[in-house]
């Protein structure tokens, strides 16, 4: 049990470092993974399924 309520919300430096690292990693995953993820979801759920070249190229 925390002694005071305010100590409940104070985070130790070690945890802070871990949190910052976790945020950095999830930022990186989101940065490179989000657009491929949306395309994957759209491609697999599409009805009818389009061909891959039509998906990426602006001209096809």
């Amino acid at each position: 049990m925390p002694r005071t309520w305010s100590s409940l919300f104070t985070v130790s430096d070690d945890t802070k470092e871990k949190l910052a690292k976790g945020i950095d990693v999830s930022r990186l995953i989101l940065h490179y993974g989000w657009v491929p993820f949306v395309i994957y979801i759209g491609y697999t759920r599409s009805n009818p399924q389009p061909s891959l070249i039509k998906l990426i190229s602006p001209l096809a």
Binding site: V11, L30, V35, P48, L55
Partner: protein, 355 residues
């Protein structure tokens, strides 16, 4: 973009209100007399039949859609939209923008997926800056929205998470911007809008800002008046710190919308006001927007659709006080890999075979 939130207002108004208290009563009855009082109250509330006032975010939706400010561009642009599926909707977009006075040439790739409850959007530009958006509808009245933008520059990074609830005659929204679990900083916004009569809705929006060493709270008042025929809307937002924004929107006919917007800052150290007037004509194959504002700018935008798949845009703005001008041209090309039957159009009858 077909954001799922825009259609919410209509859905809630259509939902039959008489069903709700009958479902609630058995659960409420466990609470004894307080529950009885609550169910009496909610029955009374239902019997008045007040409409949902719409969201706080959408308070000025009609005005923003009529005014040119959000649609104006300069230079040259081309948008290539490719619809790959209709149900669920899946679309990819390539947009090019060059020769603008205010921004560098840019290329943007976007992908949008939407079904009845989920909306996913991802966009990435030539510098690798990402825009991401998810809207998840849990029920017709409950929507959670998350937005994030990631780039190398910390100034343009952001994260936003919000939840929208639309009650029978009220709307609630809770939002947080850039929350950090490390030092508990961020901006937290709560808003509430309640219909008082069939025409009038009042509400409030509270912004709580928490930084490393300081925090502040700021509440503003909202008023929205909708005419009985629903063809004109007046809104006012007032912040006690001295910022006033009033808008007026009227549908003059089927094809003509008119909007006015007035913003004033009245503080001891500065006084400023801007007014803009705009009009929008929706013709059969084109949309015309024109706008005049008190800073001396006159602008217009024509969106001409030559075919269902091809639209041509011309925009222009003259700043009379600064003696400067901007022009823009653009094309929007919509292609589809789908056949007309797959897009839900009636199929052409086959030519009769030779006898």
């Amino acid at each position: 973009m077909a954001s799922s939130s825009s259609s919410q207002g209509g859905l809630v108004e259509l939902a039959s209100p008489s069903l709700q208290p009958q479902i609630k009563t058995p659960l409420i009855s466990y609470l004894g007399p307080a529950g009885h009082l609550y169910s009496r109250f909610s029955q009374w509330r239902t019997s008045i039949g007040l409409p949902n006032p719409g969201t706080v975010e959408g308070l000025q939706k009609e005005v923003k859609n009529t005014l040119l400010t959000n649609f104006f561009f300069d230079g040259a642009r081309a948008d290539l939209n490719k619809a790959l599926s209709m149900n669920p909707a899946f679309q990819v977009t390539h947009s090019f923008h060059l020769a603008s006075q205010t921004s560098m040439p840019s290329y943007n790739f976007g992908a949008v997926f939407a079904n009845a409850s989920l909306f996913l959007q991802g966009g990435v530009d030539h510098d690798g800056n990402l825009n991401a958006r998810i809207n998840q509808g849990w029920s017709p009245n409950n929507v959670t929205k998350i937005q994030a933008s990631i780039s190398g520059d910390p100034q343009h990074e952001g994260f936003q998470m919000e939840h929208d609830y639309q009650g029978q005659d009220y709307s609630v929204n809770a939002k947080m911007l850039n929350p950090s679990p490390i030092d508990l900083s961020g901006v937290f916004i709560g808003s509430y809008l309640q219909s008082i009569t069939k025409n009038l809705a009042v509400g409030m929006e509270t912004v709580y800002q928490r930084m490393q060493n300081q925090s502040g709270i700021n509440t503003s008042a909202l008023i929205k008046y909708t005419s009985t025929e629903r063809n004109w809307i007046a809104t006012t937002q007032l912040q006690p710190s001295g910022i006033l924004q009033s808008t007026y929107w009227q549908k003059l006919s089927d094809k003509v919308d008119f909007a006015a917007d007035f913003q004033a800052v009245i503080k001891p150290q500065m006084r400023d006001a801007i007014a803009s007037l705009g009009v929008k004509y929706d013709l059969r194959m084109s949309t015309v927007r024109a706008q005049v504002d008190s800073t001396g700018k006159v602008s217009a935008l024509l969106e001409q659709r030559f075919a269902p798949t091809f639209a041509f845009l011309v925009s222009g703005e003259i700043d009379h006080f600064r003696n400067s001008a901007k022009v823009g041209v653009g094309v929007i090309i919509e292609t589809s890999t789908l056949t007309p039957e797959e897009m839900g159009m009636p199929s052409q009858p086959y030519p009769p075979p030779y006898p």
